[in-house]
Amino acid sequence: MVIKTENISKTYNPDSIPVHALRGVNIEIEKGEFTAIVGPSGSGKTTLLNIIGGLDRPTDGYIEVGGSDISKLSDNELIDFRRNNIGFVFQAYNLIPVLTARENVEFVMLLQNQSEEVRNERTEELLKAVGLEKEIDRRPSKLSGGQQQRVAVARALASKPTFVLADEPTANLDSKSTTNLLDIMAELNRKEEITFVFSTHDQRVIDRARRVITLEDGVIASDIRR
């Protein structure tokens, strides 16, 4: 089991006008799954992703990632946890603008104190896997949106994470880039058994997912495996 949540609740503004983003969510995600979390805006997708990723804390409930209860970790322990266990792909790519594609991918490994040899080997391997071996020394501003998101995927995988969380990864991409990105992620999922969890509105992503969890008003409305 990679991720397990028990009765996860999240309430914003508990002291004034409470907003219940999640109400008792129970999920179990196995290693190697390719899961999409879908639902209308405000249904709690991003909140759930943030809590699973250790970026936010639940108001109530239990969350276990890779066998450890992350709800008890301090802020600094959570930073270490995220660095070593989770890869993030954001809607707006969020690459470091002053670093090249190579340096962006390498950066997470530097934070992990990996040796130069390991860093170089993995960076080249990942950028080749996402089809950017020719753009390796370009800064994000010199790359298209699709290329930037592929660098972001490479960066997310650089730390050899337990799983990758992708928040609306195709929202800013055109059709061709979306298909290309999904092919890459599906391939990495198949070959390296990397667990992917997406939050998305994009039907193209939903169609490729092998499991679709639908959230409505902070509760799981359906959980379909294909």
Binding site: L55, D75, R82, I96, V98, R155
Partner: protein, 408 residues
């Protein structure tokens, strides 16, 4: 650490215009501060050096208590022990024995209170180059019954070369002192303070005038290296014992030393105001930078960058920006200060201003002092200032939650 440095260095150039504006503000602050301080220090050094080397000497030997109460009753014999000091003390270049006291100078119907300086003409010229101050007449010789007077005395008494000046005073142990002396030369000193009321007699003539044969009231000391003054003073004091006081120029002329301190404090206050203004400018840049990049900071924390590492990048950015501006400021200051060292600001032609300065005892010429310590100090100030200002984003990062930061 190299990666963090590289990241910080590149971040500085993300917003080139802002970097240039901030660096320019620091550049002008450092330029102005260095220039102000160099001119202030240079002007004071010139004045102190002028007064010290043209009359007082860097240190003086008196009988104990003379500095508190300058009376001829505290005159002491100029004996062999004193005369042998240059041979015994390392770093002591020479000395001038003087017998000084006050007298009333008179010519025809005019009178004026003057400071009579009985001195050995040769050693006086050796140390203070007194002969070079002559603007009229000739230099005096030991034993001759003649007097050199400063311009201020000559003007007040309307005395010319060859006239006879009458001096009246109370001498050693209260004897009546009176004498007539031929005006042999008129002197002009750079310092207006010295130019007002001094008259010089040959030492033996002054001793005779005051009834103080073989006695002097002070021994002005010349040294080889200014930096070694405290050591020389200590050695002379040790050699002469408790009967004598050996005082550095700051103690001999506390009003000069205090005036310098007050002026330096005023200058310091202006520098503080300048740096406060610049500090707010830099802080504005930091605020904008922190606000603009809040989202990015959130992302970096999200992907696992430790807070202290992120803080270190921001700290390096701010400090590098500050030092970049300071470096440019120093680069600009060096030729500017160098130029004004060679070509001092000279207000002597500007009548009103020249008079005002002279009234307060200043020569209206301001050379810059070229000292690397001044430039270095301002680089250190900018470093400290930026290091302090960089605490703000560090505090923000310390409390930052990635989700909130990424929400904006």
């Amino acid at each position: 650490m190299i990666t963090l440095f590289k990241l910080a260095r590149r971040n500085i150039w993300r917003n080139k215009r802002r970097t240039y504006i901030t660096a320019a503000s620091i550049f002008f602050a450092v330029l102005l501060a260095s220039f102000m301080q160099s001119i202030q220090r240079g002007a004071w050094d010139k004045m102190v050096d002028g007064i010290v080397t043209s009359f007082a000497g860097y240190a003086q030997v008196h009988q104990v208590g003379y500095n508190e109460e300058e009376t001829i009753e505290k005159a002491f014999p100029f004996n062999a022990n004193l005369q042998n000091l240059p041979q015994e003390i390392d770093g002591l270049e020479g000395f001038v024995p003087r017998l000084t006291s006050f007298a009333l100078a008179s010519y025809e119907l005019q009178t004026k209170g003057v400071l009579v300086v009985g001195t050995d003409p040769e050693s006086e010229h050796g140390m203070t180059r007194l002969r070079n101050n002559l603007v009229e007449g000739a230099y005096f010789e030991e034993g001759e019954n003649s007097v050199l007077i400063v311009e201020g005395v000559a003007k007040t008494l309307k005395v010319n070369i060859g006239d006879t000046l009458v001096l009246i005073s109370s001498g050693y142990h209260g004897v009546n002192a009176a004498g007539k002396y031929n005006v042999k030369g008129i002197l002009k000193f750079a310092s207006p303070l010295l130019n007002r009321r001094m008259v010089f007699l040959p030492l033996s003539v002054a001793q005779n005038f005051y009834g103080a044969e073989g006695l002097i009231t002070r021994l002005s000391i010349d040294i080889k290296e200014k930096d070694k003054l405290p050591q020389v003073v200590q050695a002379v004091q040790k050699n002469l014992g408790d009967e004598f006081e050996v005082l550095e120029w700051e103690k001999l002329m506390p009003e000069l030393s205090e005036a310098r301190e007050v002026d330096t404090a005023g200058n310091f206050l202006v520098l503080i105001i300048l740096y406060v203004i610049i500090g707010f400018g830099i802080f504005g840049t930091i605020l904008m930078m922190a606000k603009e990049r809040e989202y990015e900071f959130g992302v970096l924390l999200a992907i696992g960058m430790k807070r202290w590492k992120l803080g270190m990048v921001i700290w390096m950015e701010v400090v590098m920006l500050g030092l970049f501006g300071a470096f440019l400021g120093i680069l600009g200051s060096v030729p500017l200060v160098g130029y004004f060292k060679r070509h001092p600001l000279d207000f002597s032609e500007m009548e009103g201003m020249a008079d005002a300065y002279e009234k307060f005892g200043f020569e209206p010429v301001f050379p810059a002092s070229f000292e690397f310590q001044i430039f270095f100090t301002h680089a250190v100030i900018v470093f400290i200032l930026t290091s302090i200002l960089a605490i703000y984003p560090l505090l923000k990062i310390r409390k930052m939650q990635p989700v909130q930061a990424m929400r904006g």
